[in-house]
Symmetry: C3
Subunit: 269 residues, 3 copies
Amino acid sequence: MKAMRDPIVTLLTDFGTKDYYVASMKGVILGINPRCKVVDISHHIHPQDIMAGAFVLANAFSYFPEGTIHLAVVDPGVGGARAPILIVTDHFFFVGPDNGLFSLVLRKEKIRETYVLTEKRFFLPEISQTFHGRDIFAPVAGHLTLGISPKVFGRRIDSLKTLNFPEPIVRGMNLIGEVIHIDSFGNLITNIRREGFSQFIQGRPFLIKAGKGIIKGLKDGYWEGKKNELIALFGSGGCLEIAVREGSAEKELKLRKGDSIRISVKREQ
Amino acid sequence: MKAMRDPIVTLLTDFGTKDYYVASMKGVILGINPRCKVVDISHHIHPQDIMAGAFVLANAFSYFPEGTIHLAVVDPGVGGARAPILIVTDHFFFVGPDNGLFSLVLRKEKIRETYVLTEKRFFLPEISQTFHGRDIFAPVAGHLTLGISPKVFGRRIDSLKTLNFPEPIVRGMNLIGEVIHIDSFGNLITNIRREGFSQFIQGRPFLIKAGKGIIKGLKDGYWEGKKNELIALFGSGGCLEIAVREGSAEKELKLRKGDSIRISVKREQ
Amino acid sequence: MKAMRDPIVTLLTDFGTKDYYVASMKGVILGINPRCKVVDISHHIHPQDIMAGAFVLANAFSYFPEGTIHLAVVDPGVGGARAPILIVTDHFFFVGPDNGLFSLVLRKEKIRETYVLTEKRFFLPEISQTFHGRDIFAPVAGHLTLGISPKVFGRRIDSLKTLNFPEPIVRGMNLIGEVIHIDSFGNLITNIRREGFSQFIQGRPFLIKAGKGIIKGLKDGYWEGKKNELIALFGSGGCLEIAVREGSAEKELKLRKGDSIRISVKREQ
């Protein structure tokens, strides 16, 4: 991949936006290349929740133009043994800690090369042990926007840490998944994807059980529900989602991340 | 209007910033035109509160340079019957759902043309029924920044959905308005505008009643109040506003959106 | 200092992001110079907390490229007696109210010149008494990005308002500081800096008392703590910080801004 003519760096962190953390990363990147664009994906990943970061990143990265540099920092092990890495895929660059944060992205993107970041000339002169986002990852991303070849940033490696994401399981007449994300509308997004769902259902009638809620059938969009109706549908990321039309399924059902969602078909007689 | 040399797209949504929604819209826009600037107006409109979105948009849009494309999505009816539209006014472009979200803007801007977005070649190849912000509105805005003529995006229409915003009413010696917005300082912003107020008052002395608070006269700025004093003044958007100097009128008076604010003049004797 | 080729304006305010305030400032700046970049430092400074604004700004500004214009508005006295100012230092421009907001920055940056903003031709045509961020500071910053000389914006002055930040004190065998910031991880950041700490400790063993917590020794990074361990370390801004590995020291210790933190050495025998 070549450097972009109008380079873009995206940022995903669990830093929030009330502190100086995100701004100092932006300053470092723009100090190296004042012409590049820095775009926020989110800074409101729950602190140190690598899975949540992986989920949001995996649903956003592919919409950016080819060559975009995705910088992601959800990094409870900062300063410790986990390696700082650069991943080059068929369409993008990814910079961040090797702790599984890129696991879900890599189900969609083919890796070309991965590097451990070792070349200190691309870091800030002083490296804290608490803020590699500013001191290592941001300057590496900044230098990448200048078209510097990935291979000069460090040593090539062949394996990456992966996270075990919960997968739905089939148990008798039930497909059991779980809530993996709750969005700001209170929609409960599950790990049940359209393909696995269709394969399990095979055209049979089914019920969806989500806490105290029981839902019959799927909608195509929120608008098909009546106001305050509890509905299920496949959302914009391709996952089964429990929603309340113009309301919050989270509040209605009092469910949380990790709670199970069960799809049941009737035993054929 | 011609395409801007340095095109700007603003975004206003109720999507919050913890999810992938806003970022994927930005990715889509930058994928079509990596040279344009995407500027957030707000993503913290209360979910599905079209009036709140209309209010914030109407107070921000006019400060942007001529030719700016304002993309706004507060869209409880996404995927349903409401049309996706493009409005061209004397100074700006507006892209979003036809559900009244642009009602307040259009009290200030003169419409030149309005189009229903029908041309699928300007949308993403796959269109979800839950996220037209990403799949329809963002790519249309992106293509607009390239200077494509509005008329090729769809079919011209002549009428738009408008929202009924609450208007202040005169009842005897009272002008009764209501709180239409509470800002992050806790200032209570009302629907009473300077002109209507002056016309009603006509130089007579008056009292302002806001919940348990009674305020005599107006201040010119917050600084005229004593610390923690309850005051009334016309704010930066031209509306009557109840405030507490270095405090929160919302907390002090425990008022909410929709609560009434009463201006009373004395009966002349 | 010369105008930047790719000018950058940063924004720090206590305006939050749910209202139209920040967006209208960005619109004004881009209306004057559509080529400049506007970068958020933070808009979530606690309302009217000048010290918090000063702290966040002082930890972020220096990472931006030379010539960056830092616009900061935490301004409880807006419209009143406090002057609107422009400070030119060795590396940056600072625009905002003269209320101490730049006090901490100016411990790190050398002032070249300071001006009171008096030239109305660089303001918006109508100036509210409640929103100088939009009506005075943003247009001044916008004009600065065009390379207009600082001296034409107003009258030179020689002194600035400074805030009294709490400084750690030595009392017998104790160094007593306080919590000056709590970040979004719940880390308690104190006003005890590395130099003052080392000078006090002089290699002696010590205990750190933070509320009900007692900590022995320092860590180099969060990763050195065990999960949920209460630790102390010098953070990325150079201040002593109390943290819980993968948890929140704020919640664990129930401490707040202003609470004292005590470092005790043993009496030598």
